[in-house]
């Protein structure tokens, strides 16, 4: 294409690495049960590694049945003897204390998060950790106001909540789970994802420091089968899960016929829709932010792009140019835009989908960036010439891979956008307010962003339609799944 923007220049940024000397990490982490660090009964540990360097950071305990039993028992005891008897005001004080401690240690948390997950320090520093603290602050405020939140409904806590969190926003997802659970008066057994346990364990230290009564929050580490043991435990009253739709279905089958309440925040394949009257340069930023934020490891990522045909060429050209200006590489560098893929396993999944896309006849474009030799990396990727029936347009890839289609009319794009088993999020870009309202009412998605993308706030509920899950997290709505009403 002629008149291409050329980012080559003899003026280039020098490395600006965030210092990591200040963080305190142990070489081996046990389980956090009943307010104490407890060795796993079977004595098994697994390694957590830095996906940007493939170097081991620490050994993490693997919880087996006995350990899970102990954790649920501790949570049950804490619920029966302490937490359920405490006034909302007192519960709120503890949650505020946790929020403040996270803020104080924000730098340490963000560095650990980036080391353990591969996400760029800019995001963990500016998004993940501040938002996690904000969630604790927000729900702390609700703890003594539940009766006002649900007038005339007499809200009551449930008991022990089993919570299983994903690896894409480790600390933030933990905050989404723990903060409302505690505010509503429940106790918690939480399992972080096996590739990203460290911030959860660091949070356990904060919880100790905050003086939270023993057993109110228990953190057990391990793989999927540890999570299954939690879900199946008879003393668990509530299951909250964020992760893949596949695992979500297994959990729902497991708890069918029990009294356990559930919140499922599962996969997505969001439509990001660009109309011809949109502010195109900002829409291009929104596309970038929609799919390449956190390497595309985002359940609400705008992974299906729909561009109105009349502006398709110019949008594609702007998008490709903008992609070339992204800095890909060391997540610890403050200037990096795109970091490492979370794990070898996930990289294999992404590469498999890229192969499928090519086989299906879609046209691939990847940026010309050079990738580090060690670690798990994927270039920002897009596919054009994509059909609605292609697998890359239907299935969640969970990586920096965008599938682009065109459309002609509003009705057409609504049909295509809703033509998916998922329904978590969507984006609409247009200068026309009435068009935004028309689409927000017709798109089957839990969140619809207008002229922006991937914006989060603790006051705003988040959750899906259809196979993207049920229940809401965040906002007033996020309290309800942790309460029962007479």
């Amino acid at each position: 294409m002629k008149n291409k923007i050329d980012y080559n220049s003899d003026w280039n940024l020098d490395p600006a690495p965030e210092s990591i000397g200040h963080i305190k990490l142990k070489s081996k982490y046990d389980l956090f049960i009943g307010g104490k660090w407890v060795k796993p009964k079977a004595g098994k540990y697994f390694a957590t590694i830095n996906p940007a360097t493939e170097q081991q950071i620490a050994d993490i305990a693997e919880a087996e049945q006995e350990d899970v039993d102990a954790a649920v028992k501790a949570a049950k005891k804490a619920y029966d003897t302490v937490w359920s008897k405490l006034s909302g005001k007192e519960r709120g004080k503890y949650i505020y204390r946790i929020a403040r401690l996270i803020q104080e240690k924000a730098r340490e948390f963000s560095v650990i998060e980036s080391l353990d997950s591969g996400k760029v320090i800019r995001e963990s520093r500016d998004i993940d950790i501040p938002l996690a603290a904000a969630h604790f602050f927000y729900y702390a405020g609700w703890a003594d106001k539940l009766e006002y939140a649900f007038p005339n409904r007499q809200p009551k806590s449930l008991g022990v909540a089993a919570q299983i969190t994903p690896w894409n926003f480790p600390m933030l997802m933990i905050a989404w789970k723990i903060a409302p659970a505690l505010a509503a008066g429940n106790t918690v057994v939480l399992k972080p994802a096996e590739t990203t346990s460290l911030t959860a364990l660091k949070l356990a230290e904060v919880i100790q420091e905050a003086g939270l009564p023993d057993g109110v929050v228990n953190i057990v580490t391990g793989y999927g089968k540890t999570g299954a043991m939690m879900v199946d435990h008879k003393d668990v009253a509530k299951v909250a899960f964020t992760g893949s739709t596949g695992v979500g279905k297994i959990i729902m089958k497991a708890i069918a016929g029990t009294n356990k309440k559930s919140t499922m925040e599962l996969g997505g394949k969001a439509a990001n829709i660009i109309f011809e009257d949109a502010p195109l340069d900002q829409a291009v930023e929104g596309i970038i932010n929609g799919i390449y934020f956190n390497q595309g490891h985002v359940c609400c990522a705008g992974s299906r792009l729909f561009v109105q045909e009349s502006v398709y060429e110019v949008v594609l050209r702007k998008l490709k140019d903008r992609m070339e200006s992204l800095y890909v590489g060391n997540p610890m560098d403050k200037n990096t835009d795109i970091g490492a893929i979370n794990s070898k396993k996930q990289l294999d999944v992404i590469n498999e989908y890229i192969k499928i896309g090519k086989t299906e006849g879609a046209e691939i474009y990847q940026t010309k960036c050079t990738l580090p030799k060690k670690g798990y990396w994927c270039k920002p990727t897009l596919f054009t010439n994509v059909a609605q029936s292609n697998r890359i347009a239907q299935e969640e890839i969970f990586g920096p891979v965008l599938a682009i289609q065109t459309f002609r009319t509003i009705d057409e794009v609504i049909t295509k956008a809703n033509n998916t088993p998922y329904g978590l999020s969507a984006g609409v870009w247009t200068d026309k307010g009435s068009k935004i309202f028309n689409l927000t009412s017709q798109l089957k998605a839990g969140v619809v962003w207008a002229n922006t993308y991937n914006k989060f706030d603790p006051t705003s509920p988040f959750g899906g339609y259809k196979e993207s899950g049920h229940g809401r997290e965040g906002g007033l709505h996020g309290l309800e799944p942790y309460l029962k009403f007479d």
């Binding site: 008149n3 003026w11 020098d14 900002q282």
Partner: protein, 299 residues
Amino acid sequence: MAEKDYRLSPRVDQVGIQDRVDRITKRSVKSEAKRKGLLMTLNMIDLTTLEGADTDFKVKQMCYKAQHLHDSFPDLPTTAAVCVYPNFVKTAINEVKGSKVKVASVATAFPSGHSSSEIKLLDTKIAVDNGAHEVDMVISRGKFHSGEYNFVFDEIAAIKEACGNARLKVILETGELGTFDKVRRASDIAMDAGADFIKTSTGKISPAATLPVTLVMLEAIKDYYYETGKMIGMKPAGGISNSKLALQYLLMVKETLGGKWLSNEWFRFGASSLANDVLMQIMKQESGNYQSKDYFSKD
């Protein structure tokens, strides 16, 4: 005559512009990149004096400074240009003779632009006849707000013709335009009518140049380049007085238009006090200490 309906110029989303600016201001420019960026900044400055109290002596002092930014430090570049009122062009030309420093003259009833077309043309011709290498004109904001885009277009085209070989910078006075949509519209008109540069402000009203408004204009330049292959220069002016901000502007240019725009042929800072702050930073990088402000000449 303009052929386009400029009411249809691309729309700009303010929140999106601010988000993008925030990404750029969070970048970290260190060591060698910082040194290079600072030297580049010096070389992109249009050292400016546009006061009612200007005199030949004042202009001469400034012209000397433009060529000798800090003689105790070897191999510093000169500024790109000096920028003066038309009646000081002769003086300035004399002073910068033999150097790389260009002389830019404001024209067209600067700063308000309220005068007859004849006077504006004459204003421009005098500046050019006196040897100005560059002309910084203002658009008729009143006519622009009245929707008389053809008038604004024709006026720019006429001034461009009067400029001959002098390069024309078109000042939009963005602080008076009200919205980014209007800034975009004015940018499109100026470029189509023959501007070599588009420039944010006269420096006479607040707000003058800002990063968001500059981004809107850089994106207009990018679209123009996509369509025509022609490069248009950019000059933010007014309100840029420290090194950190200057480096953020350069990063924004680089990430929007690429490396080709990173020279004083395509990018300028309109500023009077920026140079000394940049000099202070350069000396700090060299010696490790900040020096007194009085070690740098204030002309």
